[in-house]
C-alpha cells in the first residue's frame, strides 16, 4: 500500500541573493513498512524535502507547488491543526544532530513524554511509563533513573537514541531519518542503524532515510532516490542502483566510495562541487561536472524518464533517470562500466546512443 506520494514538489527560499529553488519538481512514493533512501551531497535538498513532508519549512522558504499525499490526503491542503495531529504522531522525524534537537533546559524524559501526552492523551504517569519503556527499547541503560537526566548528561550516542525514542514515541507510520548517524562515530553509527532497522521492522514503520552515505543505503534501504541540486536524478531499487546505475552522477558517487583492497592510492572523486542553488547551471544541473556532457546538456533540461522506454516518469515508477541519454539527445552516449570488486562483473554494459 502506498503510504506517501509526493508529486511535483517544488520548494523555494527567497533569500537576499535571490530565489533558491531547494527542491525542484520532485516526485516519489514510499510504501508502508519499506525503507526508502534519499541520497545526495550536502545542499542537494534532502533535508528540505524532509521538512516539507511535515510542512515545517520556515520563512524565507515556501512550498511553491506540488502535493504530498499521506494516506491519500494532501498534507499541503490540511489546516494547521490537522497537520499538527500528523506531526510527531503519524510522521515523525529523527534529527541529524541530536545535541541541538534536544532542548537543553528540559529533561530528556519530559521531552519524550510531552509528545505522548499530547497525541495519545496519556496522563503523566502513563506517559512516563511509556517513555521509560521506549528509552529502554532504544538501548539506554537504566532507563528509569535516566528519565530525569538533562540532555547534557547524555553521551552523543545516547542523545541520538533518545531522539529516536522521541520519534517512535507515538508509533508513527512514517519515520524520516535525516542523516541520523553523521554526528556519531563509526561503531555507534552501525549500532544505531541496526536499531532503526529493527525498530522499523518491529513497529512496521516506513522509513525515509536521508543520507550521503551509499554504504548506509546498501545496508538498509530497499529503494533509493538520488538527488542533485534539488532535483531527482535517479530512482531505482538498491540492486539496480548498485549494479546498473543509469545516471553519470550516481556512477560518480559510487566510484568515490573507498573500498578495502583498493590498489589506487587516491580516491576517485567527482570533479568540481555542487552548484550554488542561486545559480544552477542551465540544462542539466550536473553537466559542468559530467565526463559525458555534450553541447545539448547545457541547453536542455533532462526530464526524469524510464531509462528503457524514455517515457516520462511518475511518482509510481520505480526506475527512472534524468539524463538526456534516455531521451535520445546524446550523440556519443554514456561510456561507463560497472564492475563488482572481487567477483566477475555482474553487470557489464556499454551504452550507446540508440
Amino acid at each position: 500500500m502506498t503510504l506517501l506520494e509526493v508529486n511535483d514538489l517544488t520548494v523555494s527560499f527567497y533569500t537576499e541573493e535571490g530565489v533558491v529553488t531547494a527542491v525542484d519538481d520532485l516526485s516519489y512514493r514510499i510504501e508502508s513498512g519499506e525503507t526508502f533512501g534519499v541520497v545526495g551531497e550536502s545542499g542537494a535538498g534532502k533535508s528540505v524535502t524532509a521538512l516539507s513532508l511535515m510542512r515545517l519549512i520556515e520563512e524565507p522558504g515556501r512550498i511553491e507547488s506540488g502535493e504530498i499525499l499521506f494516506r491519500g490526503e494532501d498534507i499541503l491542503k490540511m489546516s494547521e491543526s490537522e497537520v499538527r495531529s500528523v506531526r510527531g504522531n503519524e510522521i515523525a522525524m529523527i534529527f541529524q544532530d541530536a545535541q541541538t534537537a534536544l532542548n537543553p533546559v528540559y529533561s530528556v524524559g519530559e521531552q519524550i513524554s510531552e509528545a505522548i501526552r499530547h497525541h495519545l492523551g496519556y496522563d503523566d504517569d502513563a506517559a512516563r511509563d511509556r517513555t521509560v519503556q521506549l528509552l529502554d527499547r532504544v538501548g539506554i541503560p537504566d532507563a528509569e533513573s535516566r528519565y530525569g537526566d538533562y540532555p547534557h548528561e547524555f553521551s552523543g550516542g545516547m542523545q541520538q537514541r533518545a531522539v529516536i525514542a522521541m520519534a517512535l514515541s507515538c508509533d508513527p507510520a512514517l519515520l524520516i531519518a535525516d542523516e541520523p548517524t553523521t554526528a556519531l562515530d563509526v561503531t555507534t553509527e552501525a549500532k544505531i542503524l541496526d536499531q532503526i532497522q529493527d525498530l522499523a521492522d518491529e513497529f512496521d514503520t516506513a522509513v525515509q532515510l536521508i543520507t550521503h552515505d551509499l554504504g548506509v543505503v546498501a545496508k538498509i534501504c530497499e529503494r533509493v532516490m538520488v538527488m542533485y541540486a534539488g532535483r531527482p536524478v535517479e530512482k531505482a531499487s538498491v540492486e539496480d542502483l548498485y549494479y546498473d546505475p543509469k545516471h553519470p552522477y550516481t556512477v560518480g558517487l559510487m566510484s568515490s566510495i573507498p573500498r578495502i583492497g583498493d590498489e589506487r592510492d587516491r580516491l576517485q572523486t567527482i570533479p568540481g562541487t555542487m552548484p550554488d542553488l542561486v545559480d544552477v547551471p542551465p540544462g542539466c544541473a550536473f553537466h559542468p561536472r559530467c565526463p559525458y556532457a555534450e553541447e545539448c546538456c547545457a541547453r536542455k533540461r533532462p526530464p526524469l524518464v524510464d531509462p528503457e522506454t524514455g517515457d516520462a516518469s511518475t511518482a509510481a515508477d520505480d526506475r527512472a533517470a534524468a539524463c538526456l541519454e534516455y531521451t535520445g539527445d546524446l550523440e556519443n552516449g554514456l561510456d561507463f562500466e560497472v564492475t563488482v570488486e572481487g567477483e566477475d562483473p555482474l553487470v557489464e554494459e556499454e551504452q550507446d546512443a540508440r
Binding site: L56, S85, G88, N89, F95, A101, E114
Partner: protein, 319 residues
C-alpha cells in the same frame, strides 16, 4: 553540585562583596569635601580653635582614616548603629533608613513588576512577529522609552495625567504606605521608574527569543506536533529567560538610582529623597548608610538572578 550547595556558595560570596562595597563607599565619602566640623564652622564662623578641636574629637575626625572606617564598620556590625545626623535635631541613621526604606522598596518593586509585566509579553510578541508591523512599532516605542530621561517623563506624566486630565492628585496627602490607596499614588512614579528598564528588557527579550527561535530544538518541538503556543511559551521562553535574567539584575541598579530622581520629582518619601537632602547638608553618616543599603539591594538582586539562572538552566550547576 546540588542546587542547594550552589545557592549556599553564592550566598557566602555576598559577604566579601559587601566588605568591598563598604570600603569603597567609605573612602569615596571621606574623599569628598565636607564634614560635620566644616558645616558647623559654616553655621558659626566665629568658632574658636578650641571649639573646632572639640568638635573634631567628638566626631572622631582626629583618628587616621582606617581607624575611622573600623569604628564605623564595628558600630554597624556589632550594634547595628549607622551613626546619626548632626545639627539642631540629631536623628539615628538606622531610624531614618528603617522609616524610609520600605517606601523605596515598594516603589522600586512596583517599577520592577511594571517593567517585567510590559517587557516579557511585548518581547515575546515582537520576537514571534519578527520584522512585521508589531515588531517595528514595539521597537520604536522601546527606543523612545530608553531615550526619555526619568525626570522629564515624570514631569510629563504629572502634567498630562494630574494637571490636564485630573486623574491623579499632583501631590496629595498620602495614606500610610500599607493602605490599599497607596497603589493609586504608586502608579505614576512606578511607571516613570520602570519605563527605561521595561524598554531595555523588552529589547533583550526580543533578541534572545528571536535567536532561540532559530535553534533546531524549536523545529524538533514543532515536529512533535506541539501547538505553536506550547513551542513558544514552554520551549523557547525558558531558554530566552536565561539571558534576560542576567540583564534584569543589571537593570536593578538603574531602578535604584532612578528612584533618587523619581522620588524627588513625585515627592515620594523614600531613601532617594533623603539621600539628596543628606548630600546637600553633608550628613556623612546618612550618605554612608543609604549608599550601603543601595549596594546591598543591587547585590541581592544579582544573587537572586544567579539563583534563578541556575533554576532555569540545568547546565549551570555542573560548571
Amino acid at each position: 553540585m546540588s542546587l542547594r550547595r550552589f545557592i549556599l556558595k553564592r550566598v557566602l560570596l555576598v559577604f566579601p562583596i559587601l566588605l568591598g562595597v563598604s570600603i569603597v563607599t567609605f573612602s569615596l565619602v571621606k574623599l569628598t569635601p565636607g564634614n560635620p566640623v566644616q558645616v558647623a564652622i559654616g553655621l558659626n564662623p566665629d568658632m574658636g580653635p578650641q571649639e573646632i578641636a572639640r568638635l573634631k574629637q567628638r566626631y572622631g575626625l582626629t583618628q587616621p582614616a582606617w581607624k575611622q572606617y573600623l569604628n564605623w564598620l564595628g558600630d554597624i556590625v556589632l550594634h547595628g548603629d549607622f551613626g546619626s545626623t548632626y545639627g539642631a535635631r540629631e536623628r539615628a541613621v538606622s531610624d531614618i533608613i528603617a522609616n524610609r526604606l520600605p517606601e523605596t522598596v515598594v516603589l522600586g518593586l512596583f517599577g520592577w513588576v511594571f517593567a517585567l509585566a510590559i517587557a516579557i509579553p511585548t518581547g515575546i510578541y515582537a520576537a514571534v512577529r519578527k520584522d512585521e508591523l508589531g515588531d517595528h512599532v514595539s521597537r520604536f516605542v522601546a527606543l523612545a522609552g530608553i531615550s526619555l530621561p526619568n525626570f522629564w517623563l515624570g514631569l510629563m506624566l504629572i502634567l498630562v495625567f494630574a494637571l490636564v486630565l485630573n486623574l491623579f492628585p499632583v501631590s496629595a496627602p498620602r495614606k500610610p504606605l500599607w493602605h490599599p490607596a497607596t497603589l493609586w499614588y504608586l502608579l505614576l512614579p512606578g511607571i516613570t521608574i520602570g519605563t527605561a528598564s521595561a524598554s531595555n528588557l523588552m529589547r533583550i527579550m526580543r533578541s534572545s527569543m528571536a535567536e532561540e527561535m532559530n535553534k533546531e530544538y524549536v523545529t524538533a518541538a514543532r515536529a512533535k506536533g506541539l501547538p505553536e503556543r506550547t513551542v513558544v511559551l514552554k520551549h523557547v521562553l525558558r531558554n530566552s529567560l536565561i539571558s534576560v535574567t542576567t540583564v534584569a539584575a543589571f537593570l536593578t541598579a538603574a531602578i535604584v538610582s532612578g528612584s533618587v530622581v523619581v522620588e524627588q520629582v513625585f515627592g515620594w518619601p523614600g531613601l532617594g529623597r533623603e539621600l539628596i537632602a543628606a548630600v546637600r547638608n553633608r550628613q556623612v553618616d546618612l550618605i554612608l548608610g543609604i549608599t550601603l543599603f543601595t549596594g546591598v539591594a543591587i547585590i541581592l538582586a544579582n544573587l537572586l538572578a544567579d539563583i534563578l539562572y541556575a533554576v532555569l538552566d540545568p547546565r549551570i550547576r555542573y560548571d
